[in-house]
Symmetry: C2
Subunit: 187 residues, 2 copies
Amino acid sequence: MKFCTQCGASVTLRIPERDNLPRYVCEACAFIHYQNPKIVAGCLPEWEGKILLCRRAIEPRYGLWTLPAGFMENGESTVQAAAREALEEANAVVDDLALYSMYSLTHISQVYLMFRGRLREGRASPGTESLEVKLFTEAEIPWREMAFTVITETLVRYFEERRSGNFSLQMGDINRDPDGRVSIKRY
Amino acid sequence: MKFCTQCGASVTLRIPERDNLPRYVCEACAFIHYQNPKIVAGCLPEWEGKILLCRRAIEPRYGLWTLPAGFMENGESTVQAAAREALEEANAVVDDLALYSMYSLTHISQVYLMFRGRLREGRASPGTESLEVKLFTEAEIPWREMAFTVITETLVRYFEERRSGNFSLQMGDINRDPDGRVSIKRY
């Protein structure tokens, strides 16, 4: 950012008094602009052993597959955000949402919250951000055409746990270094 | 906000094309300013059956008790944020953090992530944002001098579950309406 949201003057990136991290500070009106991680909320819609995926109609990763997920909005709860994304991207109503995974993507300051849920009546159709939506068995998942590491990771863990018959909260950090190497730390 | 962070021109609050929520849009350079919920990460530091609380040296709620918690920063993971807050507010090292509660505070667009963890060597002392820090048994918790509903709710559930011998993830929404009435929805 270059200008103050409150007075329009130029901002400086510096560590304010009694702080220990650089912030965008307005030298004219002294306003401090804090920037914090964003939450991406989404779900794994389940129906008769299958999982609903969406093929992206938008960048990044146009044409690749993902679970319904997107940025949480002000004023809503995490569960509402996950349900809204399924409705927007797949015209899907998902009930009984329960938190399944929480991953911190430290290189882009995002926290993914993915919920398991039941796809009502197995019904879905593409929303404006999806080229197509489809229910997949584990064997049918298009692993080589997945859009995001965090979603692939969540689905891998989901199917592993489903085979073991016992679901538990998945926690981890995913980082991509400047050379593009991805590391995953599981808790 | 009043001014564009990119070009310093005035912003307008309106619904952009292909969107359904009002955003601060710059009519000069077309930049859209998205605003999203913030994560507050913290922990319940456990030591020999006691829990560490901090008495606040800052507003809001100066002088009242809370668990160590604060805004997650860009570039860190949720677990790192929870551990950092314990170190900053109570000079406390907390190990083996495991997610215990996730509450959405819809009226202020915050998501609280509270982790259970072991207070290393039972050691703590006030950081700059704390007047005092102290280990409390359940009977000693100063319930009427607690700073935040979400923290009280987390502690109530924690002690209930501890008596039952079985901890599980606590999920809920907390809302305060314009008249000040607080409602809690548990999942």
